[in-house]
C-alpha cells in the first residue's frame, strides 16, 4: 500500500524535473508571507467592529501599527494602518493566486498532483493516519487527504477573495454582493473563510514541521520526478510504485 521513493536514477536531466519547480516555490513563499499580512491586518480590522462579542484579537498578533501611538496621534487604534496593509496585501494575494491557478492548469500540476480523489483512498488514508502508519517516503505523491485539503484551501481562498470583493465594493459589484445576502453576510463569510484558512495553516504547518523534509523540498525543490511526455489519466506515480517494491 505504501508508496515508495523513486530510487531509479533519472535517465537524463531533460526527462526529469523537480517536484516543486522554482516558479511554484516562489509563489508558495510569496503566498505564505502575504497570507500572514492578510490575517494579521484582518484581525485588527475585525476588532473595530467585532462580529462576535466574545472574540477580540490581541494587538500583539494583529497588524496595523502600535495601537497606543496610533491612538495618541491619529485617534484610532491602528485601524487605518491595518486597512493600508490589507489593501496592499490583497493585490499580491490575488495576482499571486491567479498566477498559481494559471500555472497549475497549464502545466498539468493540478491534474497530476490533486486528481483523482477516490472516496476509498480518503478512508484508507484517514485510517492510516489514525494508526500513525502514513508513509512519508515519497513526497512527490499526495495522499487522498492531502489532495482534499489542498483543493479545499484553494476553494477557501477563492471564496475569501469573493467575499472580500463584496465587502470592498458592495455598490460597484452589487451583483456579487447579493450572493452573500447582505453586507453583514459578506462579512460573516469573510470571517469564516479566515477561520478555514487558519485551521488549514495549523494542520499544514504542524505536519510540515513533523516531516521536515517536506519543508526542505519547498525550499530546494525536492526530489526529481519524471516528466510527462504527454498528459495521462492515471496518477503518474503508479508505474514507479510497482517497480520499486518493498
Amino acid at each position: 500500500m505504501d508508496s515508495k521513493t523513486v530510487t531509479a536514477p533519472p535517465a537524463s536531466a531533460a526527462k526529469t524535473r523537480q517536484m516543486h519547480p522554482l516558479p511554484l516555490r516562489i509563489m508558495h513563499w510569496t503566498n505564505a508571507v502575504v497570507i500572514v499580512i492578510m490575517i494579521g491586518s484582518g484581525w485588527r480590522i475585525y476588532n473595530d467592529e467585532p462580529l462576535f462579542g466574545f472574540l477580540f484579537f490581541s494587538e500583539t498578533f494583529s497588524l496595523g501599527g502600535d495601537p497606543i501611538r496610533s491612538l495618541q496621534l491619529h485617534g484610532n487604534a491602528g485601524y487605518a494602518g491595518a486597512e493600508q496593509w490589507h489593501f496592499f496585501g490583497m493585490w499580491i494575494l490575488v495576482l499571486n493566486g491567479l498566477a498559481y491557478l494559471a500555472y497549475g492548469a497549464i502545466t498539468g500540476r493540478f491534474r497530476r498532483m490533486l486528481w483523482p480523489i477516490r472516496p476509498t483512498e480518503v478512508i484508507a488514508t484517514l485510517r492510516d493516519a489514525l494508526r500513525f502508519h502514513l508513509s512519508h517516503q515519497d513526497l512527490t505523491v499526495y495522499n487522498a487527504v492531502q489532495k482534499l485539503l489542498y483543493i479545499g484551501i484553494i476553494a477557501a481562498v477563492f471564496i475569501e477573495v469573493l467575499a472580500g470583493l463584496a465587502i470592498w465594493k458592495p455598490v460597484q459589484f452589487s451583483n456579487l454582493a447579493m450572493l452573500f445576502y447582505s453586507f453583514q453576510g459578506a462579512r460573516y463569510v469573510h470571517f469564516f473563510g479566515m477561520v478555514a484558512i487558519v485551521l488549514f495553516l495549523i494542520v499544514h504547518v504542524t505536519l510540515a514541521l513533523l516531516v521536515p523534509k517536506t519543508l526542505v523540498a519547498m525550499v530546494t525543490g525536492g526530489p526529481q520526478v519524471e516528466k510527462e511526455t504527454k498528459p495521462i489519466m492515471a496518477p503518474v506515480h503508479s508505474a514507479f510504485a510497482a517497480n520499486t517494491g518493498e
Partner: protein
C-alpha cells in the same frame, strides 16, 4: 419610532469616551518603556508578525512609504472601477433604521448644534456664482429621495432614507467647473473632507436636509450634510458650512490620519 438595530456604542471593546491624550503625552517615557517590553515579549512568542507589528502608521520609514504609495494607487484603481451610471441598490421605507446609528469624530454629547437661522453655505474655488446660500434658499430647490445603505469603514451598516438637493443639480446651478478634480467640504465642527468630481456628479449623490421625511437632527448633520450612495460613511461630511471646487488635492480629516482617500464602495 423604531429603535436602532445596533447599540449606539461603536464597539464594546472601545472606551465610550475618547482617550485623554494629555495623559499619554505626560507619560510618554513610561509608555515607550512598556512598548519596548511588549515588543520583547512579542518577539519571543511570534517572530514574523511581531516584526510587522513594529511598523507603525506614524513610522515614516520605507514600509510606511510603500503602504502610503499603494493607498494612493488604490485611489486610482477605485476611480477606474467607479461607474457614474451604476446605481447603488435602493431599499424600501420598511427597511429604514430610524434613528440611525451615530458615529463621528466627536462624541455625540460634544456636538454643538448649528443654528439654522444664521447658518450659511459658503462657496469657493472654481464656482461661477459664489454667493452664499441660506437654508431657506436651499429649500426652494427640488428634492430627491434616496433609500440607501450606509456602510461605515469600521464594518457596520444600516439602511437610511435621505432627502435633499441632487448635488449635480446644485453644482450646475452655481456654475461649478464640472471638469475640476475635487469637491471639498468644511464643516461647523472643524471636520473636513473631499470627494472626486465623478462621485459628486453621481445621480445618487445629494446634499441632504432630511432623514426619513423629517429635518435631519443635530447628531446627523443639521442643517446640511453630504450623502453619497457610493462612498463609505466618513466620506459624507455633516454640518457643512463651505463647499469648494478645486484641482488641488484637499485631503480630509480621516484621510490625513491614514484612511484611504477614495474609499468608494
Amino acid at each position: 419610532m423604531k429603535m436602532s438595530i445596533r447599540p449606539p456604542s461603536p464597539s464594546r471593546f472601545r472606551p465610550t469616551k475618547a482617550i485623554d491624550q494629555s495623559v499619554l503625552a505626560d507619560n510618554k517615557a513610561l509608555l515607550e518603556k512598556i512598548d519596548r517590553r511588549g515588543i520583547l515579549r512579542g518577539t519571543l512568542s511570534l517572530g514574523a508578525l511581531t516584526f510587522l507589528t513594529g511598523c507603525d502608521i506614524t513610522n515614516e520609514g520605507a514600509v510606511q512609504s510603500v503602504l502610503t504609495a499603494v493607498s494612493s494607487w488604490n485611489d486610482g484603481a477605485q476611480a477606474l472601477l467607479f461607474s457614474q451610471t451604476h446605481l447603488a441598490p435602493t431599499f424600501t421605507e420598511a427597511e429604514v433604521v430610524n434613528p440611525p446609528r451615530y458615529n463621528g469624530a466627536l462624541d455625540v454629547e460634544d456636538i454643538k448644534p448649528v443654528d439654522g437661522k444664521t447658518w450659511k453655505l459658503e462657496l469657493a474655488g472654481l464656482i461661477g456664482d459664489k454667493k452664499p446660500w441660506t437654508a431657506q434658499q436651499l429649500a426652494t430647490l427640488p428634492e430627491q429621495e434616496v433609500i440607501i445603505r450606509h456602510v461605515c469603514v469600521e464594518g457596520w451598516d444600516y439602511i437610511g432614507q435621505w432627502e435633499g438637493v441632487n448635488f449635480r443639480t446644485f453644482l450646475e446651478k452655481v456654475g461649478a467647473d464640472l471638469r475640476a478634480k475635487y469637491v471639498s467640504f468644511r464643516c461647523a465642527d472643524d471636520y473636513y473632507g473631499s470627494i472626486d468630481m465623478a462621485t459628486a456628479l453621481h445621480p445618487q449623490t445629494i446634499l441632504a436636509t432630511k432623514y426619513a421625511k423629517s429635518t435631519i437632527t443635530d447628531p446627523f448633520g443639521y442643517p446640511l450634510r453630504l450623502r453619497t450612495a457610493t462612498k463609505l460613511g466618513f466620506k459624507n461630511p455633516k454640518w457643512i458650512t463651505a463647499i469648494e471646487v478645486t484641482n488641488e488635492y484637499p485631503g480630509g480629516y480621516w484621510e490625513d490620519r491614514g484612511y484611504n482617500w477614495f474609499s468608494g464602495m
